[in-house]
């Protein structure tokens, strides 16, 4: 065993004789079953009455079994090859998912428009009714290349229209096509709001799952780079992209442990109490003016409320664990949350007061006019509110330096100490979903929502053009991609802070909240009030403040870009050559 390698260890799982035997067994079984299926099929073609159905059932079962056995034989025989190809396939699916989020999400919107246009066509503009499949078939199908006016400026989402359909042009009716009837069947359900809601929910759940998986991987990569190491590199091939998936599978397989003496029902329930609000707040979170599940007039309040409930899950988790470290973590979480919700609320009031609405889409649309119209740059007070908001959200998301509830060097793992497997991962899904949500919220409230730094009206002409122009408009000026980008930027800042700063002590957290942030946020609110009252829009002072704040923002962005560029171009020198050139060479 002198040259014992990992390869040997892997190979030894299949002892020399076991593998061919398994392959042989499965292959023979598969062939027998396939023959049986053929025979039964022949029987079915001739047998009358009840026997016919039995034979059909038998054929189906034997066929499935034969395929399974043959498949198993194939997989075992070519396990290495299959594994490689499975990984490649998974990578393709992964990339496809990302691309899908970026681009394919447009398709449902187009489909909705198609269906709505057909409805309008059939019943007349403004009327509502239900189309049959035959109606849809008669309408035919073609890509809307032009002349579809969108309901609202920039409406490119999969949201159901909340108000009546009017002023809508006709879809271009294509020639009848053999696939039209299939399409009609597929399109028919889309005219009901319920279908669209279900699709939206699927979208939200899918997004949150992918988001958490991606972010966990991303955080590990970022942390690795900050610590002059590589982070995950193995699973999946390219930069360990499948690490989160592998972790997820591992976590699912783990034993669901709970302690003797734990409050079992509560212990089991707690992860869901933590996770569900985090998921539900995405219902009211607009990805763009139209790409939103439910455009609530109190969207901001709704998100705040759900963020507040999620805490309860963590507290209950800590309590139900019957572990003193968990209990201490729960107490920390409780007092931290209660305290930081107040400055958070005050900071949120500033944009609400400036815009006069709680509807997130409305707040977002006010910032369409380019970089300088972003709310954070309107006055010194809005800028301060943005900073306060971001700081408070760090505490609300239990992120460093406010990660006291799970403080791993003090409380072992805090509230999560006793959790394992899937329940444990639910907490982290919730945490990462919330992290993105607050980042997106910061973008919507303060940093131009789903608009790019360029004024959106520069691309107004493209809004009604062909598909590619509209896609370009969505990428360049206005669209969910921008919000997702901004959300991820703030998420990155959170990650950045986590791997940079030490943790604050509990009394300092409370001090920072009650003695610093609370008065400061009140001051900012007061200042913003007086600013709104005393400084008229377009006055000299307002313009100067706007320009100064914008310059500050531009400077910050440029500084970040500059630092990143400097770090990247000098990465060898910054790390030092010694880390790379080891001696004796290993």
């Amino acid at each position: 065993m002198a040259n014992f390698t990992v390869e040997d260890a892997l190979r030894s799982r299949w002892s020399a004789s076991a593998k061919p035997r398994a392959v042989r067994t499965f292959a023979v079984l598969g062939i027998v079953l396939a023959v049986a299926a053929l025979g039964l099929g022949y029987l079915a073609s001739s047998a009358p009455g009840a026997g016919y159905w039995l034979a059909v059932l038998g054929t189906a079962l034997a066929g499935v079994a034969a395929m399974t056995c043959l498949g198993a034989a194939f997989v075992i025989q070519f396990s290495r090859l299959v594994g490689t190809w499975l990984f490649r396939l998974a990578f393709l699916i992964f990339v496809g998912g990302l691309v899908g989020i970026a681009l394919l999400a447009w398709v449902p919107a187009l489909l909705y428009e198609q269906v709505d246009a057909a409805v309008a066509d059939h019943y007349g503009a403004g009327a509502t009714g239900v189309l049959t499949v035959a109606d849809l078939e008669a309408v035919g199908w073609a890509l809307p290349t032009d002349s579809i006016e969108v309901r609202r400026q920039g409406a490119v989402g999969w949201a159901p229209p909340t108000d009546s359909i009017d002023g809508r042009g006709k879809a271009v009716v294509g020639s009848a096509h053999p696939t039209a009837s299939f399409l009609a069947y597929a399109l028919w359900p889309l005219q009901f709001r319920l279908t669209r809601d279900i699709l939206a929910l699927v979208g939200v759940v899918g997004f949150v799952s992918l988001l958490a998986m991606f972010t966990i991987w991303w955080e590990r990569k970022v942390a690795g780079r900050m610590q002059s190491r590589l982070g995950p590199m193995r699973v999946g091939g390219w930069h360990g992209w499948a690490q989160s998936m592998a972790d997820g599978i591992k976590l699912l397989q783990k034993e669901d442990i709970y302690l003797e003496g734990a409050d079992r029902p509560l212990f089991k329930l707690a992860p869901y109490i933590a996770f569900m609000p985090a998921l539900a707040l995405f219902l009211a979170l607009p990805f763009s003016a139209a790409w939103i599940c439910r455009d609530l007039d109190i969207g901001l309040l709704f998100i705040l409320a759900l963020a507040g409930i999620g805490v309860l899950g963590v507290i209950v988790a800590g309590w139900a664990s019957n572990n003193k470290w968990s209990l201490l973590g729960a107490m920390r979480e409780a007092c931290q949350m209660i305290s930081y919700e107040i400055p958070l609320g005050f900071a949120l009031l500033v944009p609400v007061m400036t815009t006069g609405t709680l509807r997130l889409t409305a707040i977002g649309e006010l910032q369409a006019g380019g970089f300088h119209t972003w709310l954070a740059f309107q006055s010194p007070f809005t800028l301060a509110a943005a900073v306060l908001f971001f700081t408070a959200t760090l505490a609300a998301c239990k992120r460093a330096p406010f990660d006291l509830p799970e403080a791993e060097s003090e409380l072992v793992a805090g509230v999560y100490t006793e959790y394992s497997g899937f329940r444990w991962s639910l907490f982290f899904f919730a945490e990462y979903a919330e992290m993105f949500a607050v980042g997106a919220l910061a973008a919507i409230l303060f940093f131009g929502a789903w608009y790019s730094p360029l004024p959106a009206n520069w691309g107004a002409a493209w809004l009604h053009g062909p598909l590619w122009q509209r896609a370009l408009y969505g990428i360049l000026f206005n669209g969910p991609l921008w919000l997702i980008f901004k959300g991820f930027f703030f998420l990155f800042v959170q990650i950045w802070l986590r791997w940079t700063l030490p943790r604050i002590r509990l009394d300092q957290v409370m001090y920072a909240c009650v003695q610093v942030m609370l008065p400061l946020s009140m001051l900012v609110l007061l200042g913003a009030t007086f600013w709104a009252l005393l400084v008229p829009h377009g006055s000299m002072l307002a313009v100067v403040a706007n320009l100064a704040c914008t310059a500050l923002g531009v400077g910050a962005v440029l500084a970040i870009i500059g630092i990143v560029f400097y770090g990247y171009s000098n990465r060898r020198q910054l790390v030092g050559t010694l880390a790379i050139e080891h001696w004796p060479g290993s």
């Binding site: 942390a223 003193k324 791993e408 700063l501 943790r503 300092q508 050559t577 880390a579």
Partner: protein, 401 residues
Amino acid sequence: MEDKVVHGQPDLLTDFDRQRVAADDLRTEELLINMGPQHPSTHGVLRLMLRTDGELVLEAIPHIGYLHRCAEKIGENVTPVQFVPYTDRLDYLAGMNNNHGYSLAIEKLCGLEVPERARYIRVLMCELNRIASHLVSFGCYGLDMGAFTPFLYAFREREYILDLFEATCGQRLTYNYLSIGGVTQDLPGGFADKLAHFLDYFEPKIDEYNNLLSYNYIFVKRTAGVGVVSAADALAYGLTGPCLRASGVKWDLRRCVPYEIYDRFEFDIPIGIAGGAIGVPREVVVGDSWSRYFVRMQEMKQSVRILRQALQQLPAGEFRAKVPAALKVPAGEVYLEVEGARGQLGYLIVGDGKKTPRRVKIRGPSFCNLSIATHVCRRVLIADVAAILGSIDVVMGEVDR
């Protein structure tokens, strides 16, 4: 009131506490928590029983012995040369220093003369290992404070020192290199260049890490004024090394009771300085956790100085004295202390003319340093316990032996 002797905690907390005792109906029950032996910030298998009132630690009682491996009993049953590898496993982060102390004690007892080159090599190795050990301490202390990244940086630098050790003696953790009568083998070719390269690279890094962690606002707030040990307390509890120096006692065996060839080098003894001085944040109190931590950071610089000088003076010649194959420990006794990475590492060796000594007593600096934990961890927050323990920088292998 005896309890008024507060160590490091702002008065706010004691007021708070007193008031709670007064308002009896608001009094909460005390919680008895087991911190360790499997706890991330107890650095090994230390177990602390914390009696807490919520987050406030009223008392911390250390329970040790989880890593007891009968090192002293082994020392009585093996010959000195055989025992050297065991000393590596005491303070496993600074094995060279442990070897050094034991070898010196045996040499003194047996009257062995060590060649000049070997002495320099010993100093080189000890100071390098001191840097490596302090790097671990620095990194782990960041970890205790919730800063993950410095840990990786510290280990990146330490990796190179371990590479040097590996090239020198083939080992990365337990070296068995500084042996009785000298060192086991000569330095490999090119060692001096590599070491000089490393020193040039490493010295500015210390300042970088100071800027990264030592002067970080949160870090200072977490550690300054926490776990204050007065000079009198430090002496009474037998604290040595950086813990003693942080309390303002300028005492370093390398200078005060020079052994080996340390009197040939120029270096300073960093001590804890009250806040407000240059390079010391305002909040710092002499003898607090920050001082203990910062003394180590400065000591790394001094070690670099010593290494530079030693490298310059390194003579050619024998690397090992002639040691009789059947070395007998003569009748007599010796107590010898060296300045290890964590403090004064002492060996009491009593021989009675046999091959094996009658008694080997090891005074582990961590053992004495840790004994002050109960005294300091009184009326502090749980987070401060991690801060205090991390700044004392114990290695359980040395505490339990």
